[in-house]
């Protein structure tokens, strides 16, 4: 792998950029691997990268049905934060935020992590109490999160309307300054390039049709559209299609797949300096480096694999955005799209082993998986390599649905998050 640097940029500029090395190879699948990752999104590629980089496993394949980063990794609103309520969640998501901090340097790939601050707006007494509880819970773990008055919120984000006559007036806000955004495609590409350099085979256009076990019930091979691959470790990181893939191994999951929509406006000059979220009116908004306002809408109420959602869901969010930022009422929306998110009953992910020996699963990230990409890959790689959970993901196993030890961020946020 050629290291990207100012020197390589200058050198390639002189040869009119015709000699850049491919960022990753396009290999044919081999007959056998030490581990196979099903799903070439951010989480799957990060898992492969950390398996190779930290656990010395080099014979790894990432099997992707379409193209890498073409699912939810390329469809989300790229918000990064760790201001969750429960101890387990705070540790999991903050593990990721710590890795985000120098990910560009580690991968030698600019993932454009921009800790510009995530501000969550409070509109009523319940919000105030809930957010303050989150702030104190975060502080107990040394995670930054602070309370702002409406005036301070407006000073941090000038286009915000704090008009007390609004239908849902802003009575305060919780601000996590380390929160922010990153460039979604670059995260997939950076991990792919890093993993490829360590010998990982990234195999695109390769759908897993079946996961087969031997007589003892342990994983033996996967059948794919590009042939049979023998392996004793399979990690399923298939987001919205996890139920489908796990069904091929004969397992039922506590998941339901819903469409989740996002949309972007036409590009405008820098206007929104931070990420603004409001659970009560249900709006998420930030501005991309290209100038588009990136807006996250909600999920539809029915399960679907259609990658489209109802227009009324997006409309609802736009109405909320226009109330928070009256100056955006004249902006035109450029594109909207949907992704399929796998939602667990407690809105916390599942990362761990399964009843099938050698089969591991990392799923259930629901509507908020992008922020966790590095941390998720890191702890899942540990789980696969050691056949034992990392302390951070130990509470996030499938067993919690049987023991009842849920991590109920759904109740904590009272909204999809």
């Amino acid at each position: 792998m050629t290291k990207y640097s100012i020197l390589s940029l200058v050198r390639n500029a002189f040869s009119t950029h015709r000699h850049w090395q491919r960022a990753w190879r396009n290999p044919e699948p081999k007959a056998a691997y030490d581990a196979v990752i099903v799903g070439g999104g951010g989480h799957g590629l990060a898992t492969a990268y950390y398996l190779a980089a930290e656990h010395g496993m080099r014979h790894i394949a990432v099997l992707e049905k379409g193209w890498i980063g073409g699912g939810n990794t390329g469809r989300n609103t790229t918000i990064i934060r760790s201001n969750y309520l429960y101890d387990e969640s705070i540790q999991l998501y903050d593990h990721a935020v710590k890795l985000w901090a120098n990910l560009s340097q580690v991968l030698n790939y600019n993932v454009m992590y921009s800790p510009r601050g995530v501000m969550m707006l409070a509109h009523n007494t319940h919000d105030v109490q809930s957010f303050k509880r989150h702030i104190y819970a975060n502080r107990l773990h040394g995670v930054d999160n602070e309370w702002l008055t409406p005036q301070e919120a407006r000073a941090f984000c000038p286009p915000l309307s704090i008009d007390p006559g609004a239908r849902y007036p802003i009575v305060g806000a919780a601000l996590q300054r380390r929160g922010g955004v990153a460039r979604h495609d670059a995260v997939a590409w950076g991990y792919a390039r890093g993993a490829d350099a360590l010998g990982v085979d990234i195999i695109q256009n390769c759908e897993v049709l079946d996961i087969r076990t031997d007589n003892s019930g342990a994983v033996e091979r996967v059948e794919t559209t590009r042939g049979t691959i023998r392996t004793q470790k399979v990690g399923v990181v298939a987001a919205g299609h996890t139920s489908v893939v796990m069904g091929r191994a004969g397992l039922r999951m506590p998941l339901e797949s819903f469409p989740l929509q996002a949309l972007v406006s036409e590009p405008v000059k820098p206007i929104l300096p931070c990420v603004v979220m409001s659970n009560t009116v249900h709006a998420y908004i930030s501005q991309s480096d290209k100038g588009e306002l990136v807006i996250g809408a909600g999920t539809d109420q029915y399960i679907s694999y259609s990658q489209t959602g109802g227009l009324h869901i997006a409309t609802h969010t736009l109405e909320a955005i226009c109330e928070l930022f009256p100056m955006f009422t004249r902006l035109r929306m450029l594109r909207n799209w949907g992704g399929i998110v796998d939602v667990t009953p407690d809105r916390s992910p599942i990362i761990g082993k399964t009843p099938v020996k050698g089969l591991y699963v990392n799923c259930g990230w629901g509507t908020g998986g992008f922020k966790a990409t590095p941390g998720s890959g890191h702890v899942f790689a540990h789980t696969m390599a050691m056949d034992e959970c990392h302390p951070i993901n130990a509470p996030f196993t499938l067993e919690r649905f049987v023991t009842g030890r849920l991590i109920d961020e759904a109740a904590a946020a009272a909204v999809a998050h």
Partner: protein, 81 residues
Amino acid sequence: MLLIHCPYCGPRPEIEFRGGGEAHIARPADPSQLSDDRWASFLFFRNNPKGRHAERWLHIHGCQRWFNAVRDTVSDRFEKT
């Protein structure tokens, strides 16, 4: 937005309805006799199919009655209500 055919009221827009999730999940008659696995299966585990899905809907802003439907989760088309 889906156009849903309520068996009692006819075709109505989706915003009049509340999705009730997977159909035919019967509450166990005697939960205290159930193993934790079976109870978890009843509470949390779902088929979540890609394709035909039997599901329940409540016409909450209409006749307020529950009904079953079969819908394709790829095309979102209703086969039957």
